[in-house]
Structure formats: C-alpha cells, structure tokens
Symmetry: C3
Subunit: 272 residues, 3 copies
C-alpha cells in the first residue's frame, strides 16, 4: 500500500485524506466468513489485510470447520493484525445449552481474543447480558455485543436500543453491533428491499457514540448511506469477503458513488 | 471435524443429532461448479469435503475446462469421497447430436462414475428415458435423472411427474432431481421470486420417496422450506460452492433460521 | 481446451462453430476484478484464460492493491495473453486532480498497455476527450473509451451517443464501452430491474460497428439479449470473474438458454 500510494501519488490513493491505519479504534471493517477455504482466507488477507479489522466466522460455522483450518485461520489472521471471532449465534447455542463458559474457554484455547454476545434467537435480560459480558471480560476476552432479533421485520424501540447500548458499554463491551444479518434485508434497520431506516439511525446517533457502533451493512447502498451520515469513522460489519476493496474505495472516495462529494469539496477549496 | 466437535463439545456441533456421515444414501448435498479454478476446488474440498456428496460441472462447462484441470478435479473429488459429474445439459447436447454413447464413454474414460439424464431442452418419451438410463447403467455408470423443463414458468403436472419418477426408478436411477436451475427462480417448483410451491411438493411426497429426490435449491429460504417439510434426510442440489457450510449449519441447527425449532424441542424434552 | 475438445468431440465443445481464438479483435470478454487475491487471479487465468481478453481493476482498486500483488497480476495476465488495465473512475480521479499524464505514465511503468477514458463522474467536451485520447496514444497506450454517466437513470441521447462514438474512434480508440456499471441496473441501457433497452441498442447498431462496442452486461439475461441481437462477435464487459465459463457456454451454445436456437438450426439443416 505504502509503495502503491507512492507509485500513483498519495493524493490519488486516498481522496478522503482521513483514513486511519491499523490498529484503529474506529473506521473498522468486519468481514463475514461464511466458509472460506484456508487458501482463499490467506489470499484475502494478503490482498486486503490492511483494510480488515475483524473477521467473523458466520453463525455456527466455527463448529464444523476442520480443526487444522480453524487453527490456520487464527494464525493467519494474527499475522495480519486481524481479530477472528465466532459468530453470535454460536454463543447463543452454547448459552441455550448452559455451556457458555466452556464456549469462552474454547475460544481462548484456540487463540481468539474476541467474542460476540447476542440474543438474536434467545432472550437475555439486561442483567443477564451484563453478567455474561463480565464473565467473558474476566476471562480476558474482549467483547462486542449485538442488539436486535433475527426475526423478520423486528426493530427494537429507540428507548430499548439505547438502554441496552448503555447497559452493554457499562458492562465493558468495546463495540455494539446493529443487527443486519448476512442479507441486510427485512431485519433491524433495513426494510424488505434493504433500504436503511435513516431516521431511526439519526435518532440513535443523538444519544450514542458512532465510533462504538458497528453497522451490519452487506449491501453497497447501505454502506454509502452510513458513510453519508457518519463519515469515515463508521464501523461496518458483515462485509462479504469479495467486497472489502470496494468498501475501502467508497471510504477513500475512489468509487463513483462517493466521488462527486469529493469533487464538490475540491471545487469549494479552489473557489475559496 | 471430529477434533473440532471434541473441542467445542459434541452437543454444540450438531444440534440435530441426526447428521449422517459419508458415504450416505440420503441427506446429500450436491454443489454446482460454474467455473472454479483447481486451487479453489481443492480449497473447497479441504474445508467442506465432508459435507459434499456430489459436485456437478454446470451445463456444458466440462467441454471448455482445460483437460489437466478437469482431470485434477476428478482426482481431488475422489480423494474426498465426492462424486463429480457433468451437467445434464451437456448430456442433452450429446443426445441431440446423436452422440450420447460416446458421451458416456468419455465420462467413464475421465474417471467419473455418474451421469445426469435430463430433457430440459430436448424431448424424450418415457421409453427413450428408460433406454438411455439402461444404456448408461450397462456401461457401469450410476444415474441421476432430472424431471422438468428449463422453460420459464414450466411445471410438470403431478401425474406426469409421478409417472416419470416411477419410470426412472424402475429403469435404475438412484436419484431424481426436481429442476430448479442455477437461479432457483421462475422455473419448476419456484415462482418468479424464488418462492417454493409447497402444496405441489407435499402432493409429490404422498407418492414419492423423499430420500430418492434431490431438490435444486440455490437459495437459503428454499433450503429452509425443504428442511421444514422433509428434515435432514433431504437431498439438496445446485448449492453454490460458497454456501456449503451455511447449508450444513442449517441442517445441524447451527444457524438462526433453524435454531428456534431445536430450542423448542429442547424445551419440550425438559418439560416431559 | 484443444485436448478437452478432442476428448468430447469437437462438435460437442462448440455448437456455434464460430468462436474465434485469441488474440481476437471481437467476440471479446472483459472481466471486472473487484478485489481478487493473487492466488484467485492465477486460478482464474489457469481455468479460463483462453476465454478472457481483458481484466479491469474495478474503479480505484488499483490504488489500494499492494504493489507486489499489482505487479503479480500484470505478469500473470501477460502470460495468459490478457490485457489488464485500471478502471475508468481512477482515470477520472487523476484528471480531476490535474494528474492524468502522471496517471498514464504510472500505468505504463507498471507494464499495462491499455487505459480507459471515461467521464462517468466528470465532464469532458468532445475536444477534451480527443485531446486526452491522443495524449494516451502518443505515450504508446491503447485506449478504450466509455460513454455514459454513473448517475441513476441516465442515458445519453442517440445523437449524443453517436457523436461521441465517432469522435472517439476518430481520435484513435479501439473500443467504446456502453456504461452498465458493475450492477447492470438502473443506469445506461438498463432499467431498474436490469432489463435491456433493446430499441436503443438497435438504433445505435444502425450507425455503429458492433465489433467496436463493449457492452457492460454483468447479468446473464443481459448477455443473452445482446447475443441474440449481435451474435458471437459481441464484446462483453464487467463480467464477474466466476461467470466467465458460464458466458463462454452461452457463446458456444453449451447452456440451455442458447441451446434451442442451435437445435432449431440443426433441424433446419436436416430439413433443407
């Protein structure tokens, strides 16, 4: 990247002039791994590791990935400064079976440092969420929590969202994910066609810190909407592995959809 | 997988408690290969070979795949206990040219053990189907047949379907495929949005053996519908290569969409 | 391919009997690379290099691809007789910054031989287009130009299209691209559902040479439409990397969608 930027000229490689390097606390990209082979996984990191902060092993795939591949992914992710972690649904299964402490233990044994605590399919009271988050933290894990149900059409009320958000931050989570599933359609902040509920987001942002939120936005149009509202400090989740460079181009103004804005600001600079 | 399951605890790795190991006669997954390079092909098998029973070289791609790659795919598939075979459309081309015996011969020469006999674009009477199936069987090939036309909106009548189904089984086929194409939309059992014609399937299942049917269901929602009707013994076809682990998670109850059912049954177990 | 065709019988490997070999002036396929790792890139070329004429590094991805991977892609593409070039949007960024000469210089330094000149997000008069095209040509680059805006719903008038087309050919471009973006929806010749504006194309073809046009058609249905109008000499652009063999099957009549036509002509041959 360094060298590539030098080659084209720094000013052509990042029109936003504000893209931070890793490790970064915000402006993060979380990729969803629905089943990459180990060679594809390495291939992705070699190409785009610099633009990836997290890779989530989707839902329960960690349970059926051959052990040597799972271990290989942990190692390669570490080498590229990427945090690999199992999907929230897998935690929920463990919790439903009364085994979430063993789950945390195994996550750590494997060398992973993060877990996702969610209740998309189970019910957790705020007190239970706190207790579980604290248990994970005491074991030395870092925690990202998720708010929202997997049920079609479900969206938490603003006050419920904000109460859970505050509860989780107080309990020690680093990020809170807004549920978008892998499809980005008909769930949480998206309607059936994948369109973002913008007014809901804007209300949330009056009380929540954008840098502590991760938006599950598998679709380009959703990423653009969030970039327009929050800018480059936005954290994105559930990015398909083959869309990482495309999202990074959106962030940097290297794609038509986010170019006009930069051209407009260029013109303004010249005129002033 | 063995080791991975041990790691997380067997009860977290398969909530269905009924997933059979390969080689299996039902509960099969057939992947559609629309053009994987050899490295990607191996990568897929290494990750998910245990969950794949068949890989179909889509339509006529076998004809334009470089020979060393075709041979490599045959070898790697064998090593992972997966049956590779050319798409039904390729058989139809051979038949239309009066060359289907040569076609069967070449399939065998390449080391493949299965063929698909279909008439999605040509017309075959029941007697012709039987004759062709028997010819393939006599040459030592195993046969999967497909019922249905590639034409948009086409769906065979129930009696036509069942007559062909019985004709093919009597002639020696192992499985009968229900046409869904690669898109799963606007053809056979799917309407233009990809929704399944559930009552049609239910009628079929009154007279046909579900374990002898393969459902072409490229979309997740279609797989879920079939799983709800038939359960884990269902055979799925035209699964995109990057959806194999996701389907396996659906089968095992490791994904939100099939979790509530298992949670419900857990509760029932406790209450009883 | 040679060997594969021999294996199945030449008449099964190309029902069109008119597919030209590379290097070819028309019947070209341009793949869009939105972020392939180097291993995937090689894997694609090994499988399908014979069917690929151009690979475009989508929008500004060339700017954020690590240098050794960028150089690796150039080398591998050359080895397979494929021309790799950066997306038109990247040229537009360079032009907006007043740096397009440096841009051309870097393209050449990297060993690439083609550039795309477009004004999807900037404004260029015909005279400016000519000047820029001539500058690139003088540096020894070959040029493909693109006509059309990235704006949703935008379609140039027929007379504007034809004037620009003629202007660009007179200035020395080899091909003119009809904008379809990466989505093939709601832009240029496609409506919001991706359906082709067939009458527009037919009007264009009364005055323009089909072999000098490249149609950006990411969707199968779009490719089929163009094949029906123009036939196998059509040039296609923005083909997803995992659809190259599928498109080649459409061209050769090895896929259901283009089979009936060939069967029909077979029948006609027999009857006459």
């Amino acid at each position: 990247m360094e060298l590539t930027a030098t080659l084209w000229g720094q000013e052509l490689a990042d029109l936003s002039n504000e893209r931070r390097r890793k490790p970064r606390a915000f402006g993060c990209t979380m990729v969803i791994d629905k089943g990459l082979g180990l060679t594809s996984f390495r291939d992705l990191l070699e190409l785009a590791g610099e633009h990836i902060d997290f890779i989530k092993l989707a839902f329960g795939t960690a349970a059926i990935t051959p052990l040597h591949i799972l271990q290989g992914k942990v190692e390669w992710a570490k080498r590229y400064g990427v945090s690999l972690y199992p999907g929230g649904t897998f935690f929920e299964i463990a919790h439903a079976k009364g085994k979430h402490e063993r789950f945390f233990h195994t996550v750590q044994d494997l060398g992973m440092e993060w877990v996702e605590i969610s209740d998309g399919t189970i019910d957790l009271s705020l007190a239970e969420r706190s207790r579980i988050i604290r248990t994970a933290k005491e074991k030395g894990l870092r925690v990202v929590s998720e708010i929202g149900k997997k049920t079609a059409g479900h969206l938490p009320s603003l006050s419920d969202f904000l109460a859970t958000y505050q509860n989780d931050l107080d309990s020690g989570v680093t990020y809170v994910i807004m549920e978008g599933r892998e499809s980005g359609k008909g769930v949480g902040i998206f309607d059936e066609t994948g369109r973002l509920n913008r007014s809901y987001i804007e209300e949330i942002l009056k009380r929540a810190e954008p840098t502590r939120l991760i938006f599950e936005t598998p679709e380009k149009s959703q990423q653009i909407e969030i970039l327009k509202i929050i800018g480059n400090q936005a954290n994105f989740g559930n990015i398909p592995h083959n869309e990482v460079l495309a999202l990074e181009c959106l962030r940097r103004g290297l794609r038509a959809d986010t170019l006009p804005h930069y051209f407009a600001s260029c013109r303004r600079d010249t005129e002033s």
